[in-house]
C-alpha cells in the first residue's frame, strides 16, 4: 500500500485522532493525537492490510524553536508481509510530556521508550519498567533536550572547571575532591 492509502485507512478508522498528514516528503508521515497512539499502533499491527509487525525505530525530537515549542515522538513502522513503511508522529508539549506506551504492540519499544525517557524526559504511561537506561540512575536532567546546560557538579565532584576555578587553581588553591582535583595543564611551566 502507498502512503496515501495507509493514511486513508487510518483516518477512516480513527477520524480526527489522525491530526495531520504529509505525503509530499521523502518519507510520508501522519500526526496522531498522543492519547490515541496505543490504539493506532495496535490497529496498525493487527489490521491485515497494514500488518505493521515491525517497529523499526522510535525516536524523540525536541523542537525548541518551533511555535509553539514541542516534543515529538516518531515511530518508523515496517511490514514484513507487505514490505511497506510508514511514519507516525505524536506532538507533545515540552514540559510534562507523556503518552501511552506501545510496548504491548511491539516488544522492542520497551528499550526505545526507556531511552527516550532517559535522554528527553518523556514519560510513557503504562510502561512496565521505566528506568534510565544509558545514563546512571542518579543523573539529573535529560541531556538531549535542546535547552540542556552541562552541569558543573556530578555527585559533588566538579566536572566542568570554570575560568574562575582555573584562575584559583593557578594561584595555588586546591580545587575539587580526591582524584578529581583540577590542575591546569600548564601548571608545570610556572614551577
Amino acid at each position: 500500500m502507498d502512503a496515501a492509502s495507509i493514511h486513508g485507512k487510518l483516518a477512516e478508522r480513527f477520524g480526527e485522532k489522525i491530526v495531520a498528514f504529509q505525503g509530499e516528503t521523502l518519507q510520508p508521515w501522519a500526526v496522531v493525537a498522543p492519547d490515541a497512539i496505543a490504539e493506532v499502533a495496535a490497529f496498525a499491527k493487527s489490521d491485515p492490510d497494514l500488518a505493521f509487525d515491525n517497529l523499526l525505530c522510535l525516536s524523540a525530537v525536541d523542537y525548541l524553536k518551533e511555535d509553539p515549542p514541542r516534543m515529538e515522538v516518531v515511530y518508523h513502522l515496517f511490514s514484513y508481509e507487505h514490505r511497506h513503511v510508514f511514519v507516525l508522529k505524536a506532538h507533545l508539549p515540552r514540559e510534562g510530556a507523556h503518552l501511552p506506551t506501545v510496548e504491548g504492540t511491539w516488544a522492542v519499544a520497551n528499550w526505545h521508550e526507556r531511552e527516550a525517557y532517559d535522554l528527553f524526559g518523556i514519560v510513557f504511561d503504562g510502561h512496565s519498567d521505566l528506568r534510565r537506561i544509558l545514563l546512571p540512575d542518579d543523573w539529573i536532567g535529560h541531556p538531549l533536550r535542546k535547552d540542556w546546560v552541562d552541569p558543573d557538579f556530578y555527585n559533588g565532584m566538579h566536572v566542568k572547571p570554570t575560568p574562575q576555578m582555573a584562575e584559583r587553581a593557578m594561584a595555588g588553591e586546591k580545587i575539587g575532591v580526591g582524584p578529581f582535583d583540577f590542575t591546569p595543564p600548564n601548571r608545570h611551566v610556572d614551577e
Partner: protein, 386 residues
C-alpha cells in the same frame, strides 16, 4: 509479553535463589556489559542487563558538529565494523540531499563493506568459539582478519577507525594494485580460512552439542523485538536489505541469503545464528569476486567528484537503513535547513535491539549457557551504548 519478572525486588527472591552479577569486567560479555542473574542453583530464573557503561552521548555530539564531522564519531560506535557505520550515515545524508554517487564509488564502497563484513564475522565467529572453549579457530580467524586490515590500511591509512565513507564519496581512491591484492586475499580465504573455520569450529561435535539446543528464538519473537541481520536470519526469515531494498547497486550482484536451517536442533538456536554468520562470509566473498572484476574493468574516476563543498541539506528528515554486519543499522537524520549541524541524529543500532531480547532468551538457561547466548547475539557494546 509481560516484563514483570524483569525488574525484581529483594523481598521477591526465594530462599533458594541468589543474585549473581556477571560483568562488567567479565571477559565473555564482549565489552562492558553487566547482567544481573537471578539464579536457582545453576539455573537462571531471570536476567536483567544493565547497559550504558560505554555511553558517550553520540547523538549529542552529532548535534554539535557539522554533517561530515559526524562520520568519525560513527566509526567509534561499532568499532569492529566501522566501515558499515560510516556507510549507513553517508547513505542517510546523501538521501537527504539527493546525491547519487558514481558507479565507481559504489563499487569501492561495496568492496569495503563486504571486506568489513568478513572481518567482523571473523571476530564474531572466532570469539564465539573462544567463549565456548575452542581457542584455535580464534587464532586462525584473527590471522586472516589481519589481511583485511592490511588492505584497509593500505587504502586509507587506518586499521580500525577509518573515516572512509564520506558524504558523496570516499576519502581515498583504492591504491594501484589493490585489485590484485584483493584477489590474493580472496584466494587465501576460499582455500584456507573458510574451510578451516568450517572444519575446526562449525563441524565440531562438541561445539554443536554445546550450542544447537539453547537460546531458541522463534521468528515471531525475533520480529517483535526487531532482531535483524544474522540474528533474525538464524530464526528463519530471509530478510536481507542488500537483496530486499538494494542500495549501492547490490541488485547487480549474485549472492544467496543464508538462513538458519536447524540442522542439529530447533531452528533459531545459538548454533543457527552463528552458522548464518559463518556461511555469510562465503557469500560476501562471492560478492567481492564480482565487485573486484568490475572495478578492474572500470576507468578510474574522481572519488571526490560528488562531495559537496558545504553539506547543508534543506529542511527535512530521513530514516535510512543499511545492512551492517550486525544487522540493520538505521539513521534518523533531521535537518532544520538553517545551520550546518544536523538538528538531530538518532541511531537505531542492531545490537541495542538484540540486547533487549536477552532477558527473554536467558530465562530458564544454565549459567554456563548464558555465555553461549551473549556470544551468539554478537553484540558490540560500543554500539549499544553509543
Amino acid at each position: 509479553m509481560s516484563n514483570q519478572a524483569y525488574g525484581w525486588r529483594v523481598d521477591e527472591i526465594d530462599n533458594d535463589e541468589m543474585i549473581l552479577n556477571m560483568g562488567p569486567q567479565h571477559p565473555s560479555t564482549h565489552g562492558v556489559l553487566r547482567i544481573e542473574l537471578r539464579t536457582d542453583g545453576e539455573i537462571v530464573r531471570a536476567a536483567r542487563p544493565h547497559i550504558g557503561y560505554l555511553h558517550r552521548c553520540f547523538e549529542k555530539h552529532a548535534e554539535s558538529v557539522d554533517y561530515p564531522g559526524v562520520i568519525p564519531y560513527t566509526d567509534r560506535m561499532d568499532y569492529v565494523a566501522s566501515m558499515g557505520n560510516s556507510l549507513g550515515y553517508a547513505l542517510a545524508v546523501e538521501k537527504l540531499m539527493g546525491i547519487s554517487v558514481s558507479p565507481y564509488v559504489q563499487t569501492i564502497r561495496v568492496i569495503m563493506a563486504e571486506l568489513q563484513r568478513i572481518a567482523s564475522h571473523c571476530i564474531a565467529v572466532g570469539t564465539y568459539g573462544m567463549d565456548i572453549g575452542a581457542f584455535t579457530p580464534f587464532l586462525h580467524l584473527l590471522r586472516d582478519r589481519e589481511k583485511i586490515l592490511d588492505l584497509f590500511e593500505w587504502t586509507c591509512g587506518a586499521r580500525l577507525l577509518y573515516n572512509y565513507n564520506w558524504v558523496g564519496g570516499v576519502s581515498h581512491d583504492v591504491p594501484e594494485g589493490f585489485v590484485k591484492a584483493c584477489r590474493q586475499f580472496l584466494r587465501e580465504f576460499d582455500a584456507t580460512t573458510y574451510p578451516e573455520m568450517i572444519d575446526l569450529l562449525i563441524k565440531n561435535k562438541i561445539f554443536i552439542k554445546r550450542t544447537a539446543a539453547i537460546g531458541v528464538c522463534s521468528p515471531e519473537l525475533a520480529v517483535s523485538y526487531d532482531l535483524t541481520g544474522p540474528n533474525l536470519r538464524g530464526s528463519g526469515p530471509p530478510r536481507d536489505l542488500r537483496r530486499d531494498e538494494p542500495y549501492l547497486g547490490y541488485e547487480n550482484y549474485e549472492f544467496d541469503v543464508v538462513v538458519g536451517e536447524g540442522k542439529f536442533g530447533p531452528r533459531g538456536s545459538c548454533f543457527d545464528r552463528n552458522w548464518v554468520r559463518a556461511l555469510e562470509m562465503k557469500e560476501s566473498a562471492k560478492i567481492l569476486h564480482q565487485a573486484v572484476d568490475r572495478l578492474e574493468k572500470m576507468e578510474r574516476a574522481d572519488v571526490h567528484e560528488k562531495v559537496p563543498k558545504r553539506v547543508k541539506p534543506a529542511k527535512g528528515e530521513v530514516y535510512a537503513r543499511s545492512e551492517a554486519p550486525r544487522g540493520q543499522l538505521g539513521y534518523y537524520v533531521v535537518a532544520d535547513g538553517t545551520g550546518v549541524n544536523p538538528y538531530r541524529v538518532k541511531v537505531k543500532s542492531p545490537c541495542f535491539t538484540a540486547m533487549s531480547i536477552f532477558h527473554v532468551l536467558a530465562k530458564g538457561m544454565m549459567i554456563a549457557d548464558i555465555i553461549a547466548l551473549i556470544g551468539s547475539l554478537d553484540v558490540v557494546l560500543g554500539e549499544i551504548d553509543r
